[in-house]
């Protein structure tokens, strides 16, 4: 019975990942990230992703406050934020967020405030989506780890 659960969880993980890849939300970089995980750093991915969430939320907050400012003109600063966001997104392989960032940066380079606002909303949406999905993924993985631990207690 427990074995079945493990299989199901593995299938779930695969399905979820396939979905994320298919939708273009993630790309190969995420897989590479997963490959970096080994015995010395077992929670590498979740660790990095958590840093990513932390940083991203900060950046999103900054971007929103910049855009909400009435006499807003500091597109330069926004560009820096966006570059950071883009860099970290491509590092974890969040492809769609990266694409939105590119569009956002294009809008900010043209000083197109309406475009920026739209892009920001889109970005926030995408971010929430990704966050939910990745949380889901980590949950499943945690369960898997638990299941694995339960199933093969002797090996550890």
């Amino acid at each position: 019975m427990l074995g079945l659960a493990a299989d199901r969880l593995r299938a779930d993980t695969n399905r979820l990942l396939a979905f994320l890849f298919h939708q273009g939300i993630l790309d190969e970089q995420f897989l590479q990230l997963q490959q970096l995980e080994d015995e010395t750093s077992p929670n590498f991915v979740s660790e990095v992703v958590n840093i990513y969430f932390h940083e991203s939320e900060k950046l999103l907050r900054n971007l929103r406050s910049l855009l909400m400012d009435k006499e807003f003109s500091d597109y330069n600063k926004m560009g820096i934020h966006l570059n950071q966001f883009m860099g970290s997104s491509s590092s974890i392989g969040a492809k769609r967020i990266r694409n939105v960032c590119v569009a956002f940066r294009a809008a900010s380079e043209q000083n197109n405030r309406a475009g920026c606002l739209r892009a920001l909303e889109l970005l926030e949406h995408e971010y929430c989506f990704l966050k939910n999905k990745l949380h889901e993924l980590f949950q499943i993985q945690q369960q898997r780890a638990l299941a694995a631990a339960v199933r093969y207690p002797m090996q550890n």
Partner: protein, 1002 residues
Amino acid sequence: MGLKLQQSQHQHQHQHHSVAVKVNEQTGTKRGYTFIQANRAWLPKFLLLWVMVMAFLSTWIYKKMDADIKVRRKEVLSSMCDERARMLQDQFSVSVNHVHALAILISTFHYYKNPSAIDQETFAEYTARTAFERPLLSGVAYAERVVHSERGEFEKQHGWTIKTMQREPSPVRDEYAPVILSQETVSYIESLDMMSGEEDRENILRARATGKAVLTSPFRLLGSHHLGVVLTFPVYKSKLPTRPTVEERIEATAGYLGGAFDVESLVENLLGQLAGKQAILVNVYDITNSSDHLIMYGHQNQDGDLALLYESKLDFGDPFRKHTMICRYQQKAPTSWTALTTAFLFFVICLLVGYILYGAAIHIVKVEDDFHEMQELKVRAEAADVAKSQFLATVSHEIRTPMNGILGMLALLLDTDLSSTQRDYAQTAQVCGKALIALINEVLDRAKIEAGKLEMETVPFDLRSILDDVLSLFSEKSRNKGVELAVFVSDKVPEMVMGDPGRFRQIITNLVGNSVKFTERGHIFVKVHLAENTKPVVDAKVETCLNGGSDGGVPISDAHQFKTLSGYEAADERNSWDSFKHLVSYEESRYDASINMTVPGETSQSVTLMVSVEDTGIGIPLIAQDRVFMPFMQADSSTSRNYGGTGIGLSITKCLVELMGGHISFVSRPQVGSTFTFTADFGRCKKASFNDTKKSNTEDLPSSFRGLKAIVVDRKPVRAAVTRYHLKRLGMLAEVAGSVKIAASACGKNGSSCGSKIQPDIILVEKDLWLSVEDGGLSLRMLDWKQNGQAFKLPKMVLLATNITNVELEKAKAAGFVDTVIMKPMRASMVAACLQQVLGIGNKKQAGKDVQNGSLRSLLCGKKILVVDDNMVNRRVAAGALKKFGAAVECAESGKVALKLLQIPHSFDACFMDIQMPEMDGFEATRQIRMMESQANEQMNGSGIDKGFARKGEWHVPILAMTADVIHATYDECLKCGMDGYVSKPFEEENLYQAVTKFFKV
């Protein structure tokens, strides 16, 4: 999903927009209007204006001509009138003169003679005989002056009484003037008192006062009732003083001579003598009283041309009376037809000219309109073409994405536990999906090429290993068909060339794939050599023909065998041994020479390679040969039924070859085979980069075979050359022997002489040769030889085979003949692996990716590396990746921190630097680090102390840029500010390995 849709829509809009902008630009620049086109709305107005102007002009011409005619008419009239007037005047004066003469006659013969010499009879006689002198006078008469006192005596003397004009006895007056002498024509006026008529009396008084001829105003003459005037001359009794007064004249007056002018008949006669009397009307007037003109001739109210009349003065010698002649044309001036027709014709001609011009202009406008329309359509068509290509590219791309999902899912599905049927289904689906992806990729390529978006890379790559890869890709298929697949690369071709390996691979794959598809027997042979080598080969070929193939050594058992790879005939005989061996031998001679001296071609930057792919397949039908390179064209529709495929491959190949600066051609003979030949330009690798990249890009060929000797037993020279080529790549020395016998004898001899210079380690035997000699007892001999106790020197036997059945293999092994079998097509790495197995040489390295991974690990293990990135996530990921390879990683979150950490002395082996950082970017940080290092180096050299931990005597920490966009400009910038290389972010192992190998030697 909604978001995705929105995004793609946005993209679409953008593309559409860009196309539209393009169209606008194009039309904008091309729209140049001519003058006519610009004023097209004015054209009818121009025509109208023209017509009006011409109408005006022709009217003017008409008027001018008409006026000319009128002037001439007037001139004619005036000259005629003057002529008439002068004649009339002349005739008149002649008559007057004659009357004057008569007056003198009377005064001479009637008064100076006493008694008078003239009586009525004499006068009548004389005047009658001289009447021709006075044609204008109807008659002349002489009246004597009689005062009242003398009346009685006078009447008595003549025997009649003086009568008045009314033929009554004259009443008493002061004076009388009774006619005493008269011409016969007017004899009825004898004895009439001329003073009794009012006009005559006036005339008489005026005549005797002036002493000249005077005229009456016109009146109806007594006899004829014609209009006429009476001329009166005074006759004086005595001679007058030279300047007589009026009284003296009156006193001296003796009588009056008078004559009647019949003006009407006079003028009638006169005009009758002149030409053109019909044309004009003549009126003569007495205009003494200027207010009341008295007509003398002509009708007062005659119709005629009233518009034009001419007046000429007449002088009849009486100063008191004034006369004038008025002439006018009988008819009104005729309408001048010449003027009218001239003007009209002019107008018509101008009208026609105007219309022609208008028509031409309209035509021009129309043609130009059409032209512009065509241009616009052309631009639109071009835009549509571009849009099509873009659409194709986009759609292909969009299809690829979900297809990847499908394939991925299928792969995942295949990983799960499936029943065999399910597995079969899933595998079929996967194969189909892969085929679809391949097709889409081809279409995408085609579209990209058409849209001009395909760019060629220039990276160093190893041509030979790519060829090996491609061939091994098809090895399965060719082996099943029994087709021999081989590759030969000339030694002159550089080991590494600069170019686009992916595209090169694609070309080769396409050509070889085609060949494999259409070949059922024989061979497929890929040959690469320098393009400049072709010429000596051709020369050499001629030479061999002359030689007549004297260098035999190759026993040709079958007369119908051709000297090609497999013995089958090939379409293009350039690859047959006759020419091929010269290439090989030429190279050999050159090869030895080129070790010490540089080959001339090597100095140039680029190298042109000629690649030919030869097969012995079904060939291309002659009809289809000229459309081989057209997309979606296959030889005929049955081809696609029998062999599948879209027919797009060759057109892509052609495009790619052209992008590589070469051209492709082929020779094909139906049922014999085809040979595709293409040239391509590649860059030569610089030696430095050559060494760096060599390890990473090529598969590592083990060096453990270097110096080993081998004998290739093969009677087909081309095939032997191919085998030798592969062995050579492994660093082995190879000899070719035509048969096992020769090889064995060579071995035997060497074996007996024990350790002489050529001791083969390996003998490679072709399968067909082995089969043919197997029964000849050779194997036994070999076996004997084997048991001769020279086991440690014994060469290993290797069988080369395209396909071999298990039975055959078992047989061969059982016979102890062979140690192993190498399956064709050969590739260096596979040969190496087989030989390792046979020779028992241990391979120190793992194959494939593990090699790289391992080597990367060995490179990085224990190294201390600094990662500089402001982005925490990136930092963490980079650190994780590097740690995985065993490096000790330290992180810095800004350029400044990095500077602090890299203060000399430090213990870092390398530094990975992000370029885009706030405050101090990667470039700036690197510059400062380099500055710091150079200062430290100077100081060190200056002080002359060689510190122990300074490597190579100076500080230089390798700095690698980390960048997300790998553009060459960025790369140049990196090098400029002192960095040593770059890795793309996120890390890719291969990339990382390439970059890192430069600094860390194993």
